[in-house]
């Protein structure tokens, strides 16, 4: 018998191991549906999603691998998955959703979902659907690369007891932009005079996540900057009206901070921190992307009614300011194993009755994307609810505009690079003037737009 040397034995074992390792395996079965869904703010929100997929699984016999992921993390995970080509079949991002969707659509990394949209196109709110249209630089065309399922616009929330403690009532709250925000500075002064360490204004000024960007852009629109990007995708930042609006927005947001009307920590707030400060009654008012602050208190009837919800104020000229309506999408990355399954689920999920049921189960925190829901279900405009009808009116009935990423994905990069919150930081931390800070931000925006040429 031939004696095998130790060295040859080791080499043989190594070769077998290498051969085993070098044989890639199929990552996911095509007969399954792998879903990554952003975690809800409430248990009911997650439960509604789980129930929807369970029902679809039962109906189709297709196994659903549903993963509910922390919303900010889903973008990181999706980016990694797309880079390596091992993607899920269906994704519902929330944080930075328009950033990730517009960039992936630009790079031709998303499935075209026009057929899904077409199944309910007549029902969709005009702006919600417009905000789901993105440009594909490879195919040189706009198309529907996402399917909107819910939307939101900026809302203002305030504590009635604190306003009353300062000697005011709801009726004293002004309706126009500058007067509205100045009012809370007056409330701040009155409460401080009573020895209360409470801040009148509680908005994020941090160069991270969504909130600071969100508020800045509503200020920008309020001061006349809504045409910063034209529907053609062309950057319009040199328009004097836009530039002036940007400078005014920066000045109006940073001056209260420098005067101490905003908590010092707001320069480092994540999206949840203004909510927490509000619940702790450390701030009188806070802007928020949805009515989630009030909705989180729904089970506490007294607190639910103590919170006042306002839509965005009128312009200083007394005319309505269009709200920026952001739609939250479903998307299917290219390379997904079960595109047909994903589309089948989506078509069922966005049927008006189905979508309405889901949105109601999420306590109405999000707005519908279909006017049919508003018209057919009194829930949305129920006058006995102090918050929901105001949000519906602000986002869906009054004038609104889409975020500019649907015109040009470059603006998604402007948001993700936090150029405007950085401009705020340049004013509050480096003592730049609003004009200087705006100039730096505008130069940064131009550089980004140079990378994204439409057409």
């Amino acid at each position: 018998m031939t004696k095998i040397s130790r060295r040859r034995a080791v080499a043989g074992i190594g070769a077998v191991a290498a051969a085993t390792i070098a044989r890639p395996r199929t990552a996911k079965a095509a007969g399954e549906l792998t879903v990554w869904w952003s975690q809800g703010f409430y248990e009911a929100e997650n439960k509604a999603v789980i129930d929807s997929f369970a029902a679809w699984e039962k109906k189709t016999g297709t196994k659903v691998n549903l993963t509910i992921i922390n919303s900010p993390d889903i973008v990181t995970k999706l980016t990694a998955a797309v880079q390596v080509g091992d993607v899920p079949d269906l994704v519902h991002p929330i944080t930075l959703s328009s950033f990730v969707a517009s960039r992936l659509a630009w790079d031709d990394k998303l499935e075209d979902l026009t057929d899904v949209i077409d199944s309910q196109k007549a029902e969709y709110h005009e702006i919600a659907i417009l905000g789901s249209r993105y440009y594909n630089a490879k195919l040189k065309k706009h198309s529907y690369y996402t399917v909107p399922i819910k939307c939101a616009t900026l809302m203002e929330q305030a504590w009635r007891p604190l306003i009353e403690e300062a000697g005011f009532s709801d009726a004293d709250i002004p309706k126009t932009q500058d007067a509205y925000f100045d009012f809370f500075q007056t409330v701040h002064d009155k409460l401080r005079a009573k020895g209360k360490r409470i801040f009148g204004l509680g908005y994020s000024m941090a160069a991270k996540e969504n909130d600071a960007n969100n508020l800045f852009h509503h200020f920008l629109v309020a001061y006349g900057g809504k045409d910063i990007v034209l529907p053609s995708g062309q950057l319009n930042v040199d328009d004097p009206a836009v530039r002036k609006a940007a400078v005014t927005a920066l000045e109006r947001m940073t001056t209260p901070y420098k005067k101490g009307y905003v908590p010092p920590g707001a320069i480092n707030w994540g999206d949840v921190d203004n909510n927490n400060a509000f619940f702790a009654r450390q701030i009188v008012m806070t802007p928020n992307a949805t009515i989630s602050i009030a909705v989180a208190q729904m089970e506490k009837a007294a607190q639910y009614k103590e919170i006042i919800t306002h839509g965005i104020p009128l312009g200083n000229d007394g005319k309505p300011v269009p709200s920026l309506l952001g739609a939250q999408p479903l998307l299917v990355p290219k390379g997904a194993k079960n595109v047909d399954g994903a589309k089948d689920f989506m078509k069922g999920f966005i049927e008006p009755a189905s979508l309405n049921r889901y949105l109601k189960e999420t306590r109405g925190r999000w707005l519908p994307v279909m006017m049919a829901n508003i018209k057919s279900d009194p829930y949305w405009l129920d006058p006995s609810d102090p918050h929901r009808p105001i949000a519906v009116e602000t986002g869906l009935i009054k004038p609104s505009i889409p975020w500019w990423m649907s015109y040009n994905p470059a603006y998604a990069a402007v948001l993700s690079e936090q150029l405007w919150p950085q401009a705020e930081a340049n004013i509050t931390q480096k003592n730049m003037t609003p004009e200087q800070a705006a100039e730096i931000a505008i130069n940064g925006i131009k550089t980004i737009f140079d990378r994204f040429k439409i057409g």
């Binding site: 975690q39 703010f41 993963t67 080509g85 091992d86 927490n276 400060a277």
Partner: protein, 286 residues
């Protein structure tokens, strides 16, 4: 002023400065930990109160974690089990690979063995986070995404170079004459490894085992990237979900974090003496 008095004053100033600095460092270190405990002892509505001492301290948060009776904690003990499983397997594999490699390099006269241990250390030049996407790709190719094996493989990859280095350095302090004597008595390399080498390496084994366990215990990035199913998540990823809600359940988060910190603390204190001996050994041998 007399020389003795001046010296006394100097000593007093030095001691006062040292005491002040120590007090500052103690406060700096303990305040965050105190805050964790304070918040965990408060009710959900009181977590943002400015009082330094909880007004109505309660163990309700800990009880909630134990019972998994809050929706974000629904699978806390399952996640704890996953963390333990990953941590123990990572520690075991790191020890097995590290000791075998160090033994081969140091005791079997492997040519240019020092280059292997130093080359392994060079892998630390690239930060872990930079390798996240390549690792994700590799695991995806082999169908290991959403498998604890993927996280274990990554953690072992990162822990092993340090383990090989420390074991090599520590092993150098064990006289080679012991091996030679054993060999003369007829011991084979495996016998030398198990009967002589490993028993004498005990302090280093404890140190590196604890290090590898803690590395995987605290891991977030790779755990959240590579694991997806609810039933496979580890505690750090599970706790990350708290940072996504409006309901501010900071008291539950802090209670869960305290409970999660207990096992590493127990392990650290149980093996503290042996651990410091093992970790410092690499620093004095060239």
């Amino acid at each position: 002023m007399s020389l003795a008095r001046r010296a006394w004053l100097n000593r007093l100033a030095t001691h006062t400065a040292a005491a002040a600095l120590s007090a500052l460092l103690i406060v700096w270190t303990l305040v965050p930990l105190y805050n964790m405990v304070r918040v965990s002892l408060q009710g959900k509505e009181d977590v943002f109160s400015s009082s330094v001492i909880p007004e109505s301290p309660t163990l309700h948060s800990f009880w909630t974690v134990f019972q998994e009776s809050y929706w974000l904690l629904a699978n806390f003990w399952g996640q704890m089990t996953n963390s333990f499983y990953i941590g123990i397997v990572v520690a075991s594999l790191t020890l097995i690979i590290g000791t075998l490699a160090a033994f081969t390099i140091g005791r079997m006269r492997f040519k240019q063995g020092w280059m292997l241990s130093n080359a392994a250390l060079m892998t630390y030049v690239i930060p872990m986070s930079f390798l996240a996407i390549p690792f994700y790709g590799i695991m995806g190719k082999y169908g290991l995404t959403n498998s604890p094996i993927a996280v274990i493989a990554v953690e072992v990859t990162f822990a092993t170079p340090y383990a090989i280095f420390i074991f090599s350095q520590y092993g150098a302090s064990i006289p080679i004459e012991l091996d030679e004597a054993a060999r003369i008595d007829g011991a084979s390399p495996p016998q030398i490894f198990f009967r002589i080498y490993l028993p004498l390496m005990a302090p280093a084994l404890v140190a590196i085992g604890t290090y590898a366990l803690l590395l995987s215990w605290n891991e977030y990035l790779y755990a959240f990237l590579l694991l997806s199913s609810e039933g496979k998540l580890t505690v750090p990823v599970g706790l990350g979900k708290f940072l996504n809600s409006d309901e501010a359940p900071w008291n539950y988060l802090m209670a869960a974090a305290i409970l999660y910190a207990i096992p590493p603390m127990v392990i650290y204190y149980a093996f503290r003496r042996k651990m410091s001996g093992g970790l410092t050994m690499g620093g004095v041998k060239g």
